[in-house]
């Protein structure tokens, strides 16, 4: 309990319980509903106010879907999502609309996510029109303020998205997300489409804005080094499920789940002498289809430490050490003793 007190000081801003997002599969002549792609299958976690939760995993594991489902850009299949104390899991879109200012999203592809026929000023200004009653002058002042905040020259206000570079476009996307003073921003691979030299600029901008405005981020990425840089806690997803959730330093130093271990072993080491001794865990086989996940643990088909129980029983996502959650039979009931050690 003592461990929990510093955490209790920070309020839980986002609370996800049993979030499910299934995409139906229709086949046959009559287009019958014959199955589901379980893009996000029963995930639960909390995000504390002011922190950055990194969400990592390989392509197609459901990271982006989770991020979008979280702020209800999809109609979710099941589960509950509480943002700032308000349950939005099953809310109607019309009820959600006034809540949009609280939760925003920075999208992956800065080119495609901006309307090509709107000028920068109208892209940033549109949410202000919808959600606030600012006068024209106030709105323009706010647009300029946002452009300053993300480091865009004010003279660009009447330009169109295609006239900007990738990094500048992503700044527009960030300015747009910031327009309504959100508390929570889902950053869906905001740097994946950018040049390496620009990535650092954008990430530093995100960090700086977080410090200044007290933002909370869900940072979705497959760039493990970048997540290590920006995140306070890291959640690892595999095939629609969160397999491990731990504070950053612990997860990078001592990954609990075999998948996390394999994933982290793929991060290159900048020091050449250490790089040679780095032991990579190469996973065999492909990720199973999310439409037809294996029985038991989703990872059992590729896990180097697979046991008999893994193929039969689905492991529970439990807190095995303070602040460290994992879904793995290696750290199941048997490890309860280690869990109790600090108490004893």
């Amino acid at each position: 309990m003592l461990d929990a007190t510093p955490k209790a000081a920070a309020k839980t801003l986002v609370s996800v319980r049993g979030l499910k997002m299934y995409f139906p599969i229709h086949t046959g002549l009559l287009r019958r509903h014959t199955g589901d792609v379980k893009a996000v299958d029963d995930i639960s976690f909390d995000i504390l106010e002011g922190e950055t939760l990194g969400l990592v995993g390989e392509s197609g594991c459901g990271k982006s879907t989770a991020g979008r489902a979280l702020i209800r850009l999809y109609d979710i299949t099941g589960g509950s999502v509480k943002i700032n104390g308000v349950e939005i899991g099953q809310a109607e879109q019309s009820v959600l609309r006034p809540m949009r200012p609280t939760m925003q999203m920075v999208f992956q592809d800065p080119q495609a996510s901006l309307n090509p026929r709107m000028t920068l000023a109208s892209i940033i200004g549109e949410p202000l029109e919808e959600h606030t009653k600012l006068s024209k002058v106030e709105k323009l002042a706010r647009i300029y303020e946002l452009m300053d905040a993300v480091g865009l020259n004010r003279t660009f206000a009447n330009r169109y998205p295609h006239e900007f570079s990738g990094g500048q476009r992503q700044r527009i996307g960030i300015a747009r997300a910031l327009a309504l003073n959100p508390k929570f921003i889902v950053c869906d691979e905001p740097i994946a489409a950018l040049d390496v030299s620009i990535q650092a600029q954008v990430v530093n901008l995100l960090e700086e804005l977080q410090d200044r405005l007290g933002l909370t981020y869900l940072f979705i990425s497959h760039d493990l080094s970048m997540v290590r840089h920006i995140a306070d806690r890291v959640a690892v997803m595999y095939l629609g499920k969160v397999v491990e959730l731990s504070p950053r330093d612990e997860i990078y130093a001592d990954p609990l789940h075999p998948y996390t271990e394999a994933l982290l072993s793929a991060v290159p080491e900048p020091d050449p002498s250490l790089e040679n001794t780095r032991e990579r865990i190469i996973l065999k086989g492909d990720v199973p289809s999310p439409a037809n996940p294996p029985d038991g643990c989703n990872f059992c088909t590729r896990c180097p430490k697979v046991m008999d129980i893994c193929r039969k029983v689905e492991p529970q996502f439990i807190e095995v050490m303070p602040g460290r959650f994992v879904a793995c039979h290696l750290h199941g009931q048997t490890n309860q003793t280690t869990n109790q050690k600090p108490a004893g």
Partner: protein
């Protein structure tokens, strides 16, 4: 944009000259003789004189150049002269229809209003119903509305107008007697009763053509909307918390309209071309019907003039479509 437009207009001149040459030569190659309709009792030397009077005995190139001069210099001067009252062209030879022996331009001027009211109205109505149908079909893809819309546009597109036209005549004129089957050009709209009569006689040809036009345009609209509905910026708009109406009508529709406007603009020359078959079915004496009768009668000057006017309109509206594209899409700049 202005320099682009001017450049395109200058480029249009050689294009149109080439088209005019092709039209001229094709029609010369076609079988038929302006004297074919003359009675057999007319002696050959008289026929030869008549031919010489028409200029049909000169070499092809000379005939072509003379026709160009008539078409581009003499006719415009006559038309401007008629409108302003000044005699600009003097006694210069006009393009004369071989059928009626009156100037081609005058006949076209008589026929144009009918075509514009009937075919133009059908195009307007077709566009007006096609756009909402296309938008709604795309927004509710695979819904009942969409399925019915798909079926209706398939029918409208695949069933020819000479069939739907006759079908409507059989049902609504012959059986029910609601609408007249023949379009009365002499009708003057002066009061409410004559206006209603005009509406009634326009109803069937307009319906037939509107169905055909709407089928085509609604398909384009639907496809273009579907293309854009799946785009990332639509998700961004929803994430901004914009209402569905704003998302669909401002973000998606404005982007989807770009290709549709082009298609609509390119369809406008067809209005002037007249719906040849439909005009024939409903006896609307517009340009389409004029062209058909001119072809039957071997009236080469008339056919030449009409075909060339259509060519000019097509080139012109291609240019207009391109300019519209540049205005609607900020990514396209012609400079």
């Amino acid at each position: 944009m202005l320099t682009y437009t001017i450049r395109r207009l200058i480029l249009a001149i050689p294009v149109l000259l080439l088209i005019s040459l092709i039209i001229f030569m094709l029609l010369k190659l076609a079988p038929g003789d302006p004297m074919a309709q003359m009675p057999l009792t007319v002696p050959p030397e008289v026929k030869a004189k008549m031919r010489a009077a028409l200029g049909a005995d000169k070499p092809l190139l000379v005939q072509y150049l003379l026709w160009l001069k008539q078409f581009f210099v003499v006719e415009p001067l006559h038309i401007i002269g008629n409108m302003t009252g000044y005699d600009l062209a003097g006694n210069a030879q006009r393009v004369i229809s071989w059928q009626t022996r009156s100037p081609v331009a005058d006949i076209i001027a008589q026929r144009l209003p009918q075509t514009l009211t009937v075919v133009g109205m059908s195009y307007l109505i077709g566009v007006a119903i096609a756009l909402p149908i296309g938008i709604l079909s795309a927004y509710r893809q695979y819904s009942w509305f969409d399925q019915i819309g798909t079926f209706v546009s398939m029918v409208g597109y695949s069933v020819p107008t000479f069939f739907t036209g006759v079908l409507l005549i059989v049902i609504f004129s012959v059986d029910l007697g609601w609408f007249p089957s023949i379009y009365d050009t002499t009708l003057k709209v002066v009061d409410w009763a004559s206006f209603l009569k005009q509406v009634r006689q326009m109803a069937m040809p307009v319906t037939v053509l509107a169905l055909y036009n709407a089928a085509q345009i609604s398909r384009f609209m639907r496809a273009s909307m579907l293309d854009n509905l799946g785009q990332d910026y639509v998700r961004t708009a929803r994430a901004k918390g914009m209402g569905e109406r704003v998302v669909v009508l401002t973000h998606v529709l404005r982007n989807s309209l770009i290709p549709v406007v082009t298609v609509i603009a390119l369809g406008v020359p067809q209005i002037f071309g007249g719906a040849i078959i439909t005009e024939q079915v409903f006896k609307v004496n517009g340009l389409g019907q004029l062209l058909i009768t001119a072809i039957y009668a071997d009236d080469l000057p008339m056919v030449q003039t009409l075909t060339f006017i259509f060519a000019v309109l097509i080139v012109l509206f291609n240019l207009i479509a391109d300019i519209l594209y540049g205005i609607l899409d900020p990514r396209i700049r012609y400079d």
